[in-house]
Amino acid sequence: MRLWAFAAVVGLTLFGMGWYVLKAIRGANPNPTVELTALKRLPKSALLVVSQQEDSQRHVQALVQGKRQTGALECDRLHYRAGIMVCLKNSSFTGVRLSLFDASFKLLHKLDLVGIFASRARVSGDGRYAAATVFVQGHSYADSTFSTYTTIVEVASGKSLGNLESWSASKDGSSIKAADANIWGITFVPQSERFYATYSTKGKRYLVQGNTEGRSFKVIHEGVECPSLSPDGKRIAFKKSTRPGAWQIALLDLATLQESRTAENRFIDDQIEWLDNTHLAYELRLPDSPKVQVWSVRADGSGQPKLLLLEGSSPSGVESVVGSR
């Protein structure tokens, strides 16, 4: 008697599980109609995003004059400059895959990165370097905390410059390199060997200037996270921490080191993208929800934030001219 009751419970449970799983598998991976076959024909005003729509999970999309075109490529983070696209894709088994594509979506190089999921991706304005930041679990002594792994890849050769945490770092001439260093948010200075990044150590978040030739970092300012250099190279848009775990958009003038704000007051966690010298684009994550939107705001603090896309992430401009001003 007991055995029958048990068998009934188990049978019902297995049936329920099986039905639910099969329904999910059958509905998974619907291949959307591919309209975006090449990036080189996109107008300068186009916006590239990773789709967050239900029916085109994580496919690259281009927003052209208010209409979306979906590509075949799937990414979790992307960035596009000077005909080179960097695409980061999370994989349960191999970590994060970094792929470099040209403007026809031809695969140039790929690299598997340590880490459990992709955080930031950037291509330099001259298309020579790509950078990626991934989250790694267990880098520090406490298993549950996360740290980052950031690397820079030479686009031509596909070779990585290794873990940037091994580079030297100095502030006002003395070394600040420590075991707890974390680096993220690379933004390149085109036509040079320099880039900016966040260097975090002993509880401080520094804006550093890095040098790929000298493999070194130099502190420029403090309290700057996830910098993004403007096309004219004069300002940096960054995340300013207003309380632990919450950031707002801020701007730093590199000449005067003065900070300023934009009209966007909500909490933003993204590496800001410059659409041109005046307009910024960024992800906005709705509180307590997986929904992500893409918004835009003027860098000079005027106007109001403008919604560009419901359901999209990782916005990237389509600058096709090297170092355009």
């Binding site: 799983v21 459990i116 298993d143 549950s144 307590d288 929800s289």
Partner: protein, 402 residues
């Protein structure tokens, strides 16, 4: 010395030298571990990737996950003893954890419910562990106590290995569908609970039938033999490094590709599962305390090997074997030894006390190790731990007389 019940009562229900109830408890743990390890393995991905939580929020979640089961252990152990309802209290624990998976399926999209449901799941785990171990002890002969616990632990570990594999398999078939993980996890949790409720007898094989009073409980726990055992086990746990850290050091030292990290955990679990029964039986025959210390000696070897400049990736197998053997020689064997010291009426309370002390000690070990690492270096920290462990092994050679 407290005797467990006479062999004639339970002799006729044995299977493979182990009582049928122990096997059933093993089966319950098998299914429940598939369920909980499926969720545990994918929770980081879900929190960060599916919900977009910041790492700080996840750190909070993870800390809660690791630590909250300790809160209820003592209370539930005592409740189980006081009313002699070990199976029912364990069932409550298994039920709460299963309910938590259902909750994740229905409500898991919001930060606050994620916290609440994680707490529910871990409280369920805290509730069931000691009563279940007391049930294992109550259904075993003293001569084969370690063997019984080892069988249970082996089945438990088998489930823990299957869980993550199933979870990632599901995600590969239906990407981003974390709700599948919760649904399937809930299903396995229900099956495990069903095994317990339908087949594990409520009151079989327990010493006395009358409820236990506070003073009896206190007298039972505070006798010097058991107290010393808790102290020694706690001290050894104080110098036990967490797996995660050992794997990380291993990966860096031998320059292994990072994809290896989850595989290291699977390797250790496999070694644990295969060695549990042989080492458990050996412990029963040759002395439980000796095998227990031998396990810690293996851990000391692992520390030493991490410090020495030995290279070459084939060494990985040696490390995993040593770690797996460490768990096989210490985990179930300690519970077995403790069970011998405790009268059956207050066994759940005693075991709950023991595991609470060792959990706290391991937590302190993580903090201490981290502090040493930050102030000096990983090598210094490891050396301190190795020396301390060596001292403990030398001092505790004699063990504890029951």
């Amino acid at each position: 010395m407290y005797q467990v019940e006479s062999s004639s009562q339970i002799g006729k229900l044995r299977l493979a030298g182990v009582h049928r109830t122990v096997l059933l408890l093993g089966l319950t743990s098998f299914f429940t571990d598939i369920s909980s390890e499926m969720v545990a393995a994918t929770l980081p991905l879900y929190a960060l990737f599916g919900l977009g939580l910041a790492p700080l929020q996840f750190g909070l979640l993870d800390g809660l996950y690791q630590g909250s089961s300790a809160l209820v252990k003592l209370a539930s152990g005592f409740a189980a003893d006081r009313w002699q309802r070990h199976r029912d209290v364990a069932a409550l624990g298994y039920g709460l954890s299963a309910l938590a998976k259902l909750g994740l399926l229905l409500l898991g999209g919001v930060w606050s419910s994620l916290i609440a449901l994680t707490l529910l799941d871990r409280i369920g785990k805290g509730i069931r562990t000691a009563p279940r171990d007391a049930l294992i002890a109550a259904n075993s002969q003293p001569e084969t106590m370690a063997g019984s616990f080892s069988v249970h632990r082996a089945m438990d570990t088998a489930g823990a290995m299957i869980g993550p594999l199933m979870a990632f398999g599901l995600l590969a078939l239906a990407p981003q569908r974390f709700d599948l993980i919760f649904a399937v996890g809930f299903g396995f949790g229900i099956i495990g609970l069903a095994v317990l409720l339908f087949f594990v007898p409520r009151r079989e094989g327990e010493g006395t039938r009358r409820p236990v009073s506070w003073s009896e409980a206190w007298r039972g726990i505070s006798q010097p033999g058991f107290g010393k055992l808790v102290l020694l086990a706690g001290l050894l746990a104080l110098f036990t490094l967490s797996d995660g850290f050992i794997y990380l050091q291993l990966q860096r030292k031998l320059e292994l590709p990072p994809i290896v990290l989850p595989l290291l955990a699977v390797g250790t679990a496999l070694a644990y599962m295969l060695l549990a029964l042989p080492l458990g039986r050996l412990a029963d025959r040759r002395g439980r305390w000796g095998i227990f210390l031998a396990g810690y000696a293996l851990l000391l070897l692992v520390y030493g090997a991490l410090l020495l400049p030995v290279k070459g990736w084939p060494l990985v197998f040696m490390y995993l074997l040593a770690l797996g053997a460490f768990y096989a020689a210490t985990d179930g064997v300690l519970m077995a030894q403790a069970s011998i010291h405790l009268p059956s009426e207050i066994r759940a309370s005693g075991l709950a006390l023991l595991t609470t002390v060792t959990s706290l000690a391991r937590f302190a070990a993580s903090l201490g190790f981290g502090a040493l690492w930050t102030w000096s270096s990983p090598s210094v920290a490891l050396t301190v731990f190795a020396v301390a462990l060596l001292l403990c092994l030398l001092l505790f050679r004699k063990g504890v007389k029951p």
